[in-house]
């Protein structure tokens, strides 16, 4: 008997037991759709994170300092900037300050830095200009403000050329930053950038918390990182606990390994429900085999071979799980879309996940179908015919 005939026969038998088949498939539907929903949410958020990190530039190195015992002075920073692979360097002091404009007051994070910051951190102005190195030298009381700060303080007015009060001191706004969107606790658009020297006064500390280094090429970041580490070790022997050097790429690798683990975990949990669905199928198929003992006896008496009976029940199991899988894909995509629009989540559906979970559901059908099908095919026709 041909495979096509067997499939038709399986479909008939599934059709003739609609409610039971639907309930059996429910396990597969829930399994497959939860795999798809969970994995696509995990992948969506992973994509989100990596694209944000990518925005920051992958040729970025960050030196973070802890405590105050690391005096990163201007000479030391100059020394670092002369390293081979370093293209630009940007020291940063940061803190939070009160800002006032007429009656509007606000708490904003302030960053004191140099002219290179604009390039190193890919921070562009949309109006006015950025800080220059001259501003630092003359301790100019000027500020470049983030787009959100600008709209808080100035509304629709053009802030450039106007004055704001930072910690009671008057600063002239020279530029407004283009919006970057907030990401991972980094800056965001509610921020003020001032010259490094002025910033040190504002936060009442000369300690440089962070230094950003831009490498010359993305591929050599490991080399640059080693250079920087060596240089720092030379400058501050035995103080390696007081600073850390991180690579944007490392950060991304860490992030992607975290999100990969998350994806696998969610996929795995959902996969378990697929297995449970498979056990449900086996359960129903076993019931079906004993319920249809007589039918099997009749079929065998008429000339069905072991293989025919085995195939019939196996295909029934696989069709159940496969149809369940297909419905599960539709349900999963629908549910994912709904969740993404309801909770503004990024979901990313990949065909590999859909195909993968569908194939997995077929495999589950085969694995859990084999046992009942084998049982059916081994029935003795005489005993099966006597069965009532």
């Amino acid at each position: 008997m041909g495979i096509w005939q067997s499939i038709k026969m399986a479909l008939r038998s599934i059709q003739s037991n609609k409610l039971r088949s639907a309930l059996t498939m429910l396990g597969m539907i829930i399994g497959v759709s939860s795999v798809i929903v969970l994995v696509s949410i995990a992948q969506g958020s992973a994509q989100n994170v990596t694209s944000r990190i990518n925005q920051l530039g992958t040729n970025l190195l960050t030196i973070n300092t802890f405590g105050t015992d690391l005096a990163l002075t201007e000479d030391k920073i100059n020394e670092l900037s002369k390293l081979n692979g370093v293209k630009a360097i940007s020291p940063v002091v940061s803190g939070r300050v009160n800002v006032k404009k007429d009656k509007t007051a606000s708490q904003v994070s302030v960053t004191g830095t140099n002219a290179a910051y604009s390039d190193v951190r890919d921070t562009k102005v949309k109006q006015g200009r950025f800080i220059t190195d001259l501003d630092i030298e003359y301790r100019q009381k000027i500020a470049v403000i983030g787009s959100e700060t600008a709209s808080t303080l100035f509304g629709a007015e053009n802030p450039v050329g106007q004055y704001i009060q930072i910690e009671g001191t008057s600063f002239k706004v020279v530029g407004v930053l283009a919006s970057k969107g907030s990401s991972m606790g980094q800056g965001g658009d509610n921020t003020i950038i001032v010259p490094l020297s002025t910033g040190q006064r504002l936060v009442k500390s000369t300690t440089i918390n962070q230094v950003y280094l831009q490498g010359k090429s993305e591929d050599q970041m490991d080399v640059v990182m080693n250079e920087v580490k060596l240089a720092l070790a030379g400058m501050y022997p035995n103080k390696s606990d007081s600073y850390s050097v991180t690579n944007q790429k490392d950060l991304m690798d860490t992030m992607s390994s975290v999100t990969n683990t998350m994806t696998m975990m969610l996929g795995g949990i959902a996969g378990i429900s697929l297995l449970v669905g498979g056990i449900g199928i086996m359960n129903i198929m076993l019931v079906s085999v004993s319920e249809r003992t007589k039918e099997i006896g009749i079929r065998k008496a008429i000339g069905a071979k072991r293989r025919d009976v085995l195939l019939q029940f196996l295909i029934e199991a696989v069709v159940l799980s496969g149809v369940g899988g297909l419905i599960g894909i539709l349900a999963g995509v629908g549910l994912g879309k709904m969740l993404s629009s309801l909770f503004s989540l990024t979901v990313s559906f990949t065909s590999s996940v859909m195909i993968g979970s569908f194939l997995f559901s077929l495999v589950v059908g085969v694995i859990f179908g084999v046992f009942p099908a084998n049982k059916a095919s081994k029935l003795n026709p005489i005993q099966a015919l006597r069965y009532e």
């Binding site: 041909g2 003739s16 079929r299 008429i302 000339g303 069905a304 071979k305 072991r306 026709p381 005489i382």
Partner: protein
């Protein structure tokens, strides 16, 4: 006369129940020629169904020899037996044994399905078979929508579909009233006249007498012609 279609010699079949051995078939030997209409008669528990299972290749002899068309059934594996059942034997059961979820036509198609006959030809042959038993108009009906006699006729059509050389009927009229029984019986006679070899199992002497040849079985032992037993068996 050519070679007998069925040649059974010294066939044994025993069942062990607890400590007791039941000789369901005890040293049975019989020859059946092509085109014969044989009735096997015997009381309940005498081994009729056991013999029929054996003749129908649902079972293999424990000892003794069974040649069907000259082929030794005892030496065949399950798959080969399935093929023989499919091609050489048509079963007609007491309780019809139709698949309730399939229509009359689909039931009749079943043996052809397992024989691998392509769909179109299968349908045509099943239809032909149904019209032989006069149920062409009922092709699309489910067994539950048919009377007992009609169901049995569908079962006969199914047995005929593969054009087997032997029709095996185990009490085909057991579940039917006397009028319908007569109809079924005359149908079987017609089929016999068309050349089918028919083996009919019954415990009704009146029915057995309609057959061309009659053997009786008692306690697993076969007696040709019903022999002197016929007198004793008037009760059946």
């Amino acid at each position: 006369m050519g070679q007998p279609i069925i040649q059974i010699t010294n066939l044994m079949k025993t069942y062990k129940l607890g400590g007791e051995t039941v000789h369901a078939l005890n040293n049975v030997s019989i020859k059946i020629e092509k085109g014969e209409f044989l009735a096997i008669i015997g009381p309940s528990g005498s081994g009729k169904s056991t013999l029929m299972n054996m003749v129908g290749c649902l079972d293999r002899p424990q000892s003794g020899k069974y040649l069907l068309d000259g082929k030794d059934i005892g030496k065949m594996n399950d798959n080969q037996l399935a093929v023989i059942r499919n091609q050489k034997i048509g079963f007609i059961f007491q309780n019809f044994n139709l698949l309730t979820k399939l229509t009359a036509l689909e039931n009749v198609e079943l043996p052809l399905l397992y024989a691998g006959v392509p769909a179109k030809e299968r349908k045509a042959r099943a239809m032909e078979s149904l019209s032989k038993v006069g149920l062409k108009e009922r092709a699309g009906h489910l067994p539950t929508q048919l009377s007992g006699g009609q169901q049995q006729r569908v079962a006969i059509a199914r047995a005929l579909a593969g054009n087997p050389s032997i029709l095996l009927a185990d009490e085909p009229t057991g579940a039917l009233d006397s009028k319908t029984s007569k109809e079924i019986l005359s149908l079987m006679k017609e089929l016999n006249e068309l050349g089918h070899t028919i083996i009919l199992i019954t415990h009704d002497l009146a029915i057995a007498k309609q057959a061309g040849r009659m053997v009786s079985i008692q306690d697993g032992q076969l007696l040709e012609n019903g022999g002197e037993l016929i007198g004793n068996m008037a009760i059946y």
